[in-house]
Symmetry: D2
Subunit: 371 residues, 4 copies
């Protein structure tokens, strides 16, 4: 209820501060009998990890995940899966002079307004290090989705003013991981790298946009009113640090279209009599809050990093003017590292709705008088 748990049937509850003992979580509602590939989970964390390329923060956390419960002889047991990543490389002293300062566009000010106290070291709970637990939760979700034939892939489609113009279905998403910015178009990726280098030279920071696609989701997942699939995806995305916007399918651009242009037309599948196909997917794979069987795709906007490596004016907690000049290690642009976070949050939403679908779906044997 204090907002550190996500999902209804698949629930991830997280804990941890940037410079506390560790960050982790508990997954409650993971079905039993699923093979748990630890290497896959660790690799997902590595994709989010600082220090993974020359473009991102050099903080060198090993970020080794330890599973504390819920897995036995390589299989999930249906009981809670707890995991923790201990914090190793904490240079808390870098932050000591910030203990009473409200950094611009950070959560320092609002935490004090809400709680009256905060662990200021490295941003404490408001640090993006918290997203590590989301990536771990998402990795477990992906292991289950893989069994269902569902994949979730995100990539960077904009950094600063550099945009990737093509839509996801014109791209080879297998290329996403082959460059440091996680853009599947190598030419655009190079431009993005230059954009980042230019901002770094200016001691400034950048934002960007991530596009995400889920394939293989069958028709029928989602709930029709408040818990629409897109509503839960929107909440998932807007819960990520620095996110300012979400759109799916035709998105904001769709608002300028007319209905005759926008509608996706059903027609008989010429290859599978009795089946129905649509040639367009402006709906984004969701109709009335429920998956249609088409690809689900959406875009998430990130603001530029709030910490910039130059002098900024601000105030301390007593409203005295102060000047800050960060010495810590900070990304110029977090968007490439946010790709696995977006995927993780989307994967958890999908698993949650898969389980809800299972709970409510018609069962063939229900009229036979036995469960």
């Amino acid at each position: 209820m204090a907002g550190n748990a996500f999902g209804k049937l698949f629930t991830l509850t997280t804990f941890g501060e940037s410079h506390g003992k560790g960050v982790g979580g508990i997954i409650d509602g993971y079905p039993s009998g699923i093979g748990i590939n630890l290497d896959f989970i660790q690799n997902e964390l590595n994709r989010r990890r600082p220090g993974q390329s020359k473009l991102v923060t050099p903080r060198d956390e090993k970020d080794r995940i330890e599973i504390l419960s819920g897995v036995f002889e390589g299989l999930s047991t249906g009981t809670p899966i707890a995991f923790v990543v201990m914090n190793a490389d904490q240079r808390s002293n870098d932050y000591n002079d910030l203990s009473n300062v409200f950094r611009p566009s950070h959560a320092d000010y609002t935490y004090i307004q809400k709680y009256g106290i905060r662990d200021h070291r490295g941003g404490g709970r408001s640090s993006a290090r918290e997203t590590l637990a989301r990536v771990a939760g998402g990795a477990f979700a992906k292991l289950l989705l893989a069994k269902l034939g569902v994949t979730v892939n995100a990539y960077v489609s904009q950094i600063g003013r550099v945009q990737l113009e093509q839509s996801y279905d014109k791209l080879d998403l297998s290329l996403t991981e082959q460059n440091d910015v996680r853009c599947p178009d190598p030419m655009v990726a190079e431009k993005m790298v230059l954009e980042i280098e230019a901002a770094r030279a200016d001691r400034d920071s950048l934002g960007g946009i991530i596009t995400c696609v889920a394939k293989g989701v069958p028709a029928g997942w989602g709930e029709p009113v408040f818990d629409r699939l897109q509503a839960d995806l929107a909440k998932a995305m807007l819960s990520i640090n620095a996110v300012k916007g979400f759109e799916y399918g035709s998105g904001f651009a769709g608002s300028a279209m007319r209905g005759s242009q926008h509608n996706d037309i059903f027609r008989p599948d010429p290859h599978n009599p009795g089946n129905i196909v649509m040639d367009t997917n402006r709906a984004g794979g969701i109709l009335g809050g429920i998956s249609s069987g088409q690809d689900i795709y959406f875009r998430t906007a990130f603001k530029p990093v709030a910490t910039i490596m130059r002098e900024q004016n601000t105030v301390d907690k007593d409203a005295n003017p102060v000047t800050i000049n960060p010495k810590g290690r900070h990304d110029v642009c977090v968007v490439p590292r946010a790709v696995p976070i977006v995927e993780a949050m989307a994967a958890m939403v999908l698993v949650d709705h898969y389980l809800r679908f299972e709970a409510y779906r018609r069962k063939d044997d229900i009229n036979e008088g036995k469960s």
Copy 2:
């Protein structure tokens, strides 16, 4: 859990189909002792009501709300407030020939995939008539917010290709209700009316964008991780029929900015020593998921209405090709009528977080050994 309830401490659960007996809901978690102004609530429903202007659907529902419980001698009692609006003007026969047809870009197809059965009349549960219960819930929320000095105002900032360029703080929002399109700039409003008339002449439909502003929210509402205030607002908006996108503060445009341009700088309030002010508000009134005391503002994108008054190809439930040509009564553009829906959902999110803030906040007397 089947997604017909919204909110955690202030919970609205809704029911009803377009052509069933009625539409309504139960509010659980409304504090006691709040004066319930029934005229205000009815007026909010009237703002959403079909037939309110020549621009919208002529279906003439009276939409009279009846309160069934939870109010006694003009005050809320703290017990559940149930309300119902009975359906009066149902021309279900208009829809009989659609009982086995999947209308393009509607939920007909996905409802059948999920449930195997649907009340097809007027769209059943997937009809936007469901939003009536949201407006009622939001009206109760607004009555509580008013006591706290919080206002929530939305307006139409785009219809089709006609955009209102100014930001909300340059507009006189008291003008919003003075024209049929609910645009506070009378000149732009006229262009929007023409845009709608043109689409109607083409037997086509339009989408648009609604901007919403909440003023008076004190610093400290919201939760820091998954239940960030913006995350709950995003979910609220994306749960509304036809919504495709959400952005707050700098939004998608903020992704192209640099940190040095984007950061909102704190400075001492020259008029109130010890107070802190910000001259800009690209954050949108929320930092780290928690309200900062500045205005909260966001934009919500609506796709064009799916029902258009022309022949369209589609399929029936057996995948046979059919042609439909709607005879019912339909809006060319629902966006003006969606203004109170956006306000209602936002108001309910704010009340929910107000109650959560109250639950968790430090109490001065807690060290005194009594509650």
Copy 3:
């Protein structure tokens, strides 16, 4: 969150005061495609209804249920099922002189402490008339359980000092409805009637105990830690007006037994090789919070009715001493009318856990790469 909703996947939210416009609820999470037998539902309400026999209150509510949504052409549609029973026979004037009085052992005092206001008429929200909505919700639950081969039957096993000694498996439960006290042993039933008549003659009231049995629940329902099946049953029972205790299986008496006497021994089923049977069931059909496949049985204790037809001293809201002498219509003993309430609450708990079981259970096709 304000406690007017029950269940997680099958959720009943209720509303209504004794002398308000009506009492009803919304069921969210009812699966689609279930035949809704309205006569059965009405009959369940009739079993709880006042005025059903000469032993109970003569208040003559027709208690006709009206379904407002969620049922189409005789089948559930998967959307919320709203229902209402309008209040007809309200003699609110009987209560006017009680508007400022705190009746002994009623909720009048604590409602004012909590809310500062209350609808005093007939007890308002604290009236047992609220349980009508539970019985309706339970009736829907029973319709679903019947398809699964699960039955829920309760009966009166004690009224005042008259006890039914036999355990449930020695009784013919089909006799329960054949007498006014709902005791399946006709001889004991007669004694119970005499006990009630004697208390009535003394202008006094009685409590009692209800035993409930669920048969046909397969092994595997329930959750292992906090949401143990017995924990949810206990909560369900203690949420009923006037209930003071709950025990299942061996119950309180089991505390005096030794392990060697108490353990239920597994042995091979001689008739079905590979099957396992137990000859005893002191566990009450639940092991580790999860159903074992044996009968689930439990007992619920009710205190005597607080309203007695004699003069009692009490105070008004200003702590002045007053004397009350009720004129309303009141049961001497509510326990027979509570039988359908106990069944309803138990049925809703079971459906909730059935849906949870479905959500989490292993699926044979999950390794095939499709859902």
Copy 4:
């Protein structure tokens, strides 16, 4: 949703198996600014710990709690508090021959029915070692309750056939911790010790009853319908391993009383004009689900320990008859060690309802137009 989380506003989510890496949990919803006394928390765990006296299992876990987050410079920060107790003394080999055996009256059989897999070592998740996390959660709850002047004290009132006859208000509860059986009457305590020694000599086991009293709870906590204070207490108690029953106030015995005997009469407080007092408290401190300001007291029944140190017949997972003869370390009677568990669960229920009370209560400043 899979039942490993408890509470709504104060939520404890737990994890861990008896012989896994550790047992722990996350508290979400703990208010900020509360002093966290680690010694107190460790001492609560010590009260539950095995090996604390010659009467209980000699398994010598140090059970040292480690706080991973949410506490900064000795104060709670309002963010999630995670804690873990690593498992040290695991003699898993003691259990290897039980990996395919269903022990009588244990959860082995139902876990396999539900999950198809289980960590059999030491009972895995179904082990009472899981309650360690409850005691830690309850310790945090008690620290908050102490600031409010609320105390929660439990004691053993029955072991086997030895009963403590006096009611709680005739006892000196400060004596509870002065003997190994946690019975505040030293004479009865001695008889209980003899009862345990006799059962041990017989290689048998015992159950018992725990009484719990909460003092200082002000009037107004609790919700009036499904989340009655007693309903949440009942659920809390029935969620503890081995518990078979719950009663509060007059309990099961009250069912045989008449209303005229049972009602608690309000009268003016002769010492505090305007105040109201009651001379009796058969209600158990709760009226209509809401605390009355009187003491809250209840009793919880535990069955005898299922593991007995003698040969028992049972079956393996293939329904073959087997004989087991436990070699592990097991309590003859767990009831004394369950005293802190009962207190912990009760304390968490009370904190949860305290926060709910705070969320919904009337605020004096709400009519002033500011929060």
